[in-house]
């Protein structure tokens, strides 16, 4: 798995998951665990998934982000995907999920 996930408490109620590497079929499971852990944390009201260091994402990675957004909506946690760049941004745009994932809701 060529994906690193760094969990940052940017303030008392916010977690930023800083990803680096490739979000593919192998990386989808640890990413799902990290997102679910952050969203289900009762002390957290806002989760940001930072794609700044991500160079590749596939449909399983996208599914994991959409699933995270859905769970966050259920848990009334604010959830947002941030800093998609280059190929990653283009793939999120083509699949039509960029707006859905980038807008803050919860």
């Amino acid at each position: 798995v060529n994906l690193s996930i760094t969990t940052l408490r940017t303030d008392d109620a916010t977690i930023r998951l800083a990803l680096a590497g490739e979000v593919d079929l192998g990386g989808a499971k640890p990413l799902r665990e990290a997102i679910h852990g952050a969203v289900r944390d009762r002390t957290v009201t806002s989760v940001i998934v930072d794609l700044d260091g991500v160079t590749f994402i596939d449909s399983t990675g996208i599914a994991t982000l959409v699933d995270g957004r859905k769970l966050a909506d259920v848990c009334a946690t604010t959830f947002r995907v941030d800093n998609a760049r280059d190929l990653v941004r283009r793939v999120l745009e083509i699949t039509g999920v960029l707006t859905h994932l980038s807008s803050t809701s919860g």
Partner: protein, 130 residues
């Protein structure tokens, strides 16, 4: 096959080899002189077909990558039950969890053919040099 023309065969790939699959396609794209965008598109499209083989067709597949003067041909073979010859062109909803893989492959690579026979399914993807 000439050893340094960027052509590659991977007889058996699994979930652990997807990075190697992508690297093989990127290398062939470089040798064939594809643009960075065409290379990215082909790598992403082939990855989706390979993921489909790993996730839905027995956990493994084989890959053949053949660069030429006109572009890059990639064949992904698996021994799974097969897939529809025509892929759905309707984009999945932004809220849908899955179902994007082959749709995305088809969007990024316009020349995709699917052939099923008793040995399984062969998906051919061609990205022209422009």
């Amino acid at each position: 096959m000439h050893p340094d023309d960027g052509g590659t065969t991977i007889d058996r790939f699994t979930i652990d080899d997807l990075q190697r699959v992508r690297a093989a396609v990127a290398n062939a794209a470089h040798h064939a002189g594809l643009t960075d965008t065409s290379s990215d598109d082909l790598v992403t499209a082939v990855n989706e077909v390979a993921v489909n083989a790993v996730a839905h067709a027995g956990g493994h597949g084989s890959l053949r990558v053949a660069p030429s003067a006109v572009g890059v041909l990639v064949e992904v073979h698996d021994d799974g039950p097969g897939m529809p010859a025509k892929l759905d062109l309707q984009r999945p909803s932004p809220e849908a969890i899955g179902g994007r893989g082959l749709w995305l492959a088809r969007m990024l690579c316009h020349q995709v053919t699917i052939a099923s026979d008793p040995s399984g399914v062969t998906v051919r993807l061609f990205m022209p040099r422009v």
